[in-house]
Amino acid sequence: MITCKDIEEKLTAYQEGVLSPQEKNLVEDHLAACAQCTSALAGLKKTVDLLKDLPEVEPPPWFTQKIMAQVREEAEEKNSLLKRLFYPFHIKIPIEAFATLCVVALGLYVYKTSSPEIKTYQAPPTAIIEAPAKDVTVSKPVEKPKTIALPETESDKEILSQKEPLPQPSVQADAQRASSEPIMERKEEIQAATGVAPPAPIRSMAKETDTSVSVGAGRKEEREEKAFKSAPRSKKADVKIQAGAALTLSVENIASASTDIEKVLGQSGITITEREFKDGIQTFIVHCPAQKLQWLLGRLRTIGEIKDSHLIPDDTNSDLQITIRVIPR
């Protein structure tokens, strides 16, 4: 049995038109016979009509502008944030790329302009031990004209004319040379200059040699040193340098022996023009007056054993360029 309450519950659905045909017929049959439910349906329709008749309110005239002002403010904040985060990349990337290219180009330019020196630095200076010291005498006057004399003898000129591998006494010396060609040109210049320009002053002991011979063994060394130090150094014509002499000194301890050698040389006034330690061998290139030679050999024998010696001074008036190789025993 369908009651009015059941029908009233279906009235809204009936009003919306969402009931099934059977339910719709059932409601319509009931409404035809029930004034109460008909009144309820009318009340629903009236309610909906009242709702639909509600007037629309109008937005205020400033409404759109106010909304858009807020929207644009928000958009600007968003854009400014985006710009802060990402906009710099639009500028920064090209600038950084350009700067990188500039740095690379500069680096290449520097490398190209300085590459000969770099190559010279990279070359191993092994010739200092194997090469004869005669070439050192050629290059040194250019660098240290006050301590090393330029060659004047015919033998020296011959030495200069020999096309042997160029010695590389030190890295510093090499750094001053751009290539081997400038060195050859420099040699020619030096050769041309030796006949005209006087060499740099060196220590000459020509006249003091005899005085040291007759003195006793005890004080002989001191006198030789005094004579060496007080020897006149202006006799340029008597000064001759004989290059190419070398000896090998076998010692127990290279370090201590080297110290002793430097001490002895320092005491005697013999000039050390080059020193190098390489591959366990200490090499000294010294400038030794002829009259000090025997004294030097004697002192070296107290330090170590002289293995081989080519010290055969032909001319007692000539100073000697001696390469002393100190090797472990």
Binding site: E16, G43, K46, E56, P59, T64, K66, Q70
Partner: protein, 209 residues
């Protein structure tokens, strides 16, 4: 209601495709395109908010917030529903939140003498109708509408929302489903109960319905 319904008028003024075009422009950062959408939808959103909140000023504030939220989130709009449905959903959320604030404030601030008088059950106290005059004669049309609005305000939020969307704004069930994200059966159920509650409220307010 005479002539074309509000919904039909809206559809005549613009189509959803037009919205999609401007939405697409907005998603590319064109704020002027968003202004077009604002001009198109502001009145409808304002009326929805007004019927939900029952206060014009609050409704204006609600719609401003809703449009701003829509602009912020427009890149997330994928077009699965109509833009108007999406925007209405945002407006409904803001209106719901604002209504909570209003209720909370009115609860703390007490009752104004200008507020509608409510009974203990929350229903609007009715004016005793006279037997001599008709209802339309007893109340002017404006007052009648105010009473209707008061009755809407007495409904629970979930009923009020469905009632406003369906009976006032005339959205379809599908659109209401998109807006409120609830099943169609729930929509119907809420709508029937909302109408029944409205009828009872109006009967109390107006005396006869």
């Amino acid at each position: 209601m005479t002539g074309m319904s509000k919904r039909e008028k809206d559809k005549k003024n613009f189509t959803l495709d037009d919205d999609d075009h401007y939405v697409s422009l907005c998603q590319k950062g064109n704020t002027n395109a968003f202004q077009v959408l604002v001009e198109r939808h502001q009145k409808k959103m304002l009326n929805i908010a007004y019927r939900i909140t029952g206060d014009y000023e609050e409704a204006c504030e609600t719609v401003q917030e809703a449009f701003l939220s829509a602009f912020k989130a427009i890149k997330k709009f994928r077009g699965e529903a109509a833009f108007s449905s999406w925007l209405t959903g945002i407006t409904m959320n803001h209106a719901r939140n604002r209504l909570k604030k209003i209720k909370s404030l009115s609860h703390h601030e007490g009752i104004s003498i200008d507020d509608p008088v409510k009974t203990e059950t929350g229903q609007v106290m009715c004016d005793p109708p006279t037997q001599e005059d008709s209802i339309l004669e007893q109340l002017e049309k404006k007052e009648l509408q105010a009473k209707v609005q008061e009755c809407i305000g007495t409904l629970d939020d979930e009923f009020r929302e469905v009632l406003v969307l369906r009976d006032i704004q005339e959205f379809s069930y599908d659109e209401i489903h998109d807006i409120l994200n609830i099943p169609e059966g729930t929509i119907k159920s809420r709508l029937f109960r909302a109408r029944e509650a409205m009828k009872n409220c109006l009967r109390h307010v107006l005396g006869v319905i």
